[in-house]
Symmetry: C5
């Protein structure tokens, strides 16, 4: 979820606060624990009622991971894999073992270790593809839960607004309270819409993009690892992996010569 | 539907009641048999008019089953199947027969009995897959009916609100009744939205998740039963069945050694 | 469309009338030929403008047929086909001819006649599948037209309400008419929503279910007829046809022994 | 677009005018050049901004063609093709050439001319299928543009209503103008909804049906032309082409005997 | 995005301004920096929070390119490729090299250079198809971002309107401010709807059409380049490439004779 998501959300929250202040009202006039209870509580309880426990736990993990784990850039990945391919051609597969601890990315380390251990290509591909698929599914489930949240929040906002309106309409004998009654009722709709559009929808969108990007990099690593095992020439490894990049990105890869230097 | 669904729904209902009380109104002020008649009656009658009788009966069965029948955990299933595989290798397929009554899950018992009876693998796969498909369809139909309900409830809520508004507007000569008239009219919209978002949608979502989970466990059992029939080594059975689990879950399976102990 | 649809719709209409009476208004206060003209007329004229003449005619036919033609139960169908299979094995295909007039279902009679006439299996399958497909398409088109109607009715309801509001707002000099003017305007929205949710949507849903059910029974008959032609043993015919039933339904079929008795 | 579309639209426009008059208002009270400018202008300008010039031109052509070109009935087409097949069998392919000018339908004439010219079947099929596909795409694009229009019209209607409301609310010092101000504002919403539901949506629906129908007839002609080239017996041509008809329609075809008479 | 998009948008903006003036209000009465901040700021910040940085940068590039880069017409492309095919047949592939700088389109130049360099057809096809796919994806992503913007703008418009209403309702003690308070609140909804329907949706639609058109022309160029490499006769090249055109467009191509002249 890198910085843009956090920055975009913080900017949006700040912008809303600024707009309230510019409108001449104190921010406290938009705080209502009553509306908050129904909108936040209702959305969370509805999600609890809809999903199974392990899925709910997994959502938190997927989001925090997306915030703190930055996907390795494909260009860097390609350069590193070319390096390993060169090493393997010069000094044999076992030479990779010594430099395995340099590899921070668990997925890549796992693939290379299986190569060093001499597992057949079939097996390596199956294990790594399996892992890619599980992660794609975790991301897809997380995205769906956040989208469900973005539908639930406005629904509970409207529910709370209806509750406020009914209560207000029953006490119309006191006309001075009508304005503030309606104001309170509308705050719930505001909360629901805010939650959906400022929090849930961007988070869901980013999770989807993050998942696509990460699985692309992992596919690239998978192909690179298998090419190393097959003993491909570094030039061929570079060629194969560059097809994962757009023409514009390919320029940024320091190719075989740089790696060999 | 385990506990989370019931808990989530109860929390949501309690939360709405709490919010009404916090708003300073008695809960009775949100009870209106008039609105209830149109929203609940209309939704149920519309479902009756839309679906065939056996489908309507099946819905109740699917929901109650989902509440009271907890899906066996895939980890436990794998351990049990490894146990049977070990037994079959050591003492022959017939040794399974004696321990068949231990198996509580009807589906698994049926599969194992067919193995003991010496039916060909083709036949066993066809019968069990047929059953998995029927159940998936039952779940899908149930989910679709609940989703249809979640569309119908707000529609009849709006219908009742319109009826309330028309009646109120015709009697505007008595202005003191306007407030309570509108309040009553809005309660129907509240009912429709409540029914859709607190009851129908979470139930529909859970039914979908429950169906996916159950069919996954059954696919696993199907593969396990066929592996036992084929006389696979327990290690191979474990290997095959673990591909149904995410890497994180695999750790929780007490493997062949534990089962053989 | 059997009874449940009619009952569900009648209950819904009765419920709405009851709710109006309980609300203290005469039912006549919800009758407005003005709103009726725009909502009913507009929806029908829009359907006429959207579809071709033969499609419009076919809609009426499909609906009335669905009301008055009850699909033969698959269990009964299986029993009858087992009976014919037994007869064909004992006394030859020609023995079927004598009992052909007992078969009320046109589709089944046609299939059996082709068997008696000695047409090749290929040909029989092609003719019958063609007929199943045409019927599925007729049902699908009918369903789509009713769904289009369920979108058009609320749209014309809103159109009529807008017309009522504009007219009312232009005559605000007479404030006593505002209430009844708005009431009249809202009745059109009520009509549109009623038409969509009480009539069109359940009818569309039922047509879809009816089509699925009927084509399933016809697939079953098709397979049964071909099995009879192939001279399959009654036990095998029973086995083949029972795969069309859910495990729960299979119990209700009086099998070969009963039929042979 | 034959008569039903024109009749349905004219009836709908007449019905709306009648309803306005019945509501006691002059029709002129629903004319507002202000609202018309925003709704009609905005929708057209938005379509211009969305599509490429050739697409916009093609839309007009597709609609007018659909109005003035009536699709030959499949029954008539089959009879004519059987006639040509009989002729070709009796007097050779060249006999068709003399009667080619009787064929009004360009597509059919083109197909038959290619047969007479002795082009290979492969080539004829490719050329004719290509033409069918281009026409299907033209219809699909036209339908999509009209549907886009049916989304844009209500959007600009709401835009104009908002503009009217803002202007009115700013001049609330004159309370006598509120009613007519709101009436004017609502007329724009009325225009948008009218345009979408009475004009754009039926036109889009009809274009879709028209395209499906025409491409079906052309597929039939394509198969007939190829059967004639292959020298099929008239009876076989009849058999082949009748599979394009529903069982009900087949009765209306005057078969080989009639054609040969 | 050629002229129509710019013209359509400018006309729409002008039309809205005209309509405001015709409504008797100064245009300045529709300017509100408060509403602008929430709608424009919120939409942009939400997009930043949803997409990754390179995607956001790419959006600007795709739009500006679409504005300033006009797709070569397929007819012109075909004529040029026929010219090169004639040249290659007469004077050999190397003769193309000399006239390579005449080719302005980068994609075509690249393809022809690979032919001159003697790369195998397989390789050329792979490289060029890869480029077509990357561009299609860039267009699709850009379109999706603009559509997301067209959903976000009205959502933030409603959010700002709710904020305005709440603030206004809290200060109902001053009744003279109600009208202008509501007017200000509604301006935000107006902004959101304007942004979505006048800017985002047409831009998204055009980007989609532009992408489809450009990739079609590039597919045509790809086939033409490979036909030249294969040494096809100019007549055959013309035949092959004309299948990319509709029958109506084919007339406009100056064929082999013209090119050979």
């Amino acid at each position: 979820m890198d910085f843009p998501t956090i920055i975009g959300m913080v900017l949006n929250i700040g912008m809303v606060c600024l707009a309230i202040r510019l409108g001449g009202a104190p921010i406290s006039s938009f705080l209502d624990e009553h509306a908050g209870l129904v909108v936040f509580g209702g959305t969370i309880f509805a999600l609890i009622a809809t999903y199974r426990l392990p899925q709910l736990k997994s959502l938190g993990r997927v989001i925090t991971r997306a915030f703190f784990y930055s996907i390795p850039s494909p260009e860097k990945e390609i350069e590193r894999l070319i390096g390993f391919a060169t090493l393997a051609r010069r000094e044999g597969l076992l030479a990779i073992e010594e430099r395995l601890e340099e590899v921070k990315d668990e997925f890549e380390a796992r693939g290379l270790r299986m190569v060093v251990d001499g597992l057949p290509a079939e097996e390596i591909r199956k294990v790594l593809e399996n892992e890619i698929n599980y992660q794609l599914e975790r991301h897809a489930t997380g995205k769906k839960m956040l989208e469900r949240g973005s539908e639930m929040a406005p629904a509970f906002g409207m529910l709370a607004t209806l509750m406020g309106l009914v209560t207000m309409l029953r006490n119309m004998s006191d006309p001075s309270g009508i304005g503030s009654g309606m104001a309170l009722a509308l705050i719930a709709t505001f909360y629901g819409s805010f939650l959906a559009n400022v929090i849930f929808l961007p988070l869901a969108g980013k999770l989807g993009e993050h998942g696509k990007e990460e699985s692309m990099v992992r596919m690239l690593v998978l192909e690179g690892v298998l090419a190393i095992q097959a003993g491909d020439k570094p030039q061929l490894v570079e060629e194969k992996l560059k097809t994962f990049l757009s023409p514009r990105e390919r320029v940024h890869v320091a190719g075989v010569k740089a790696a060999a230097a």
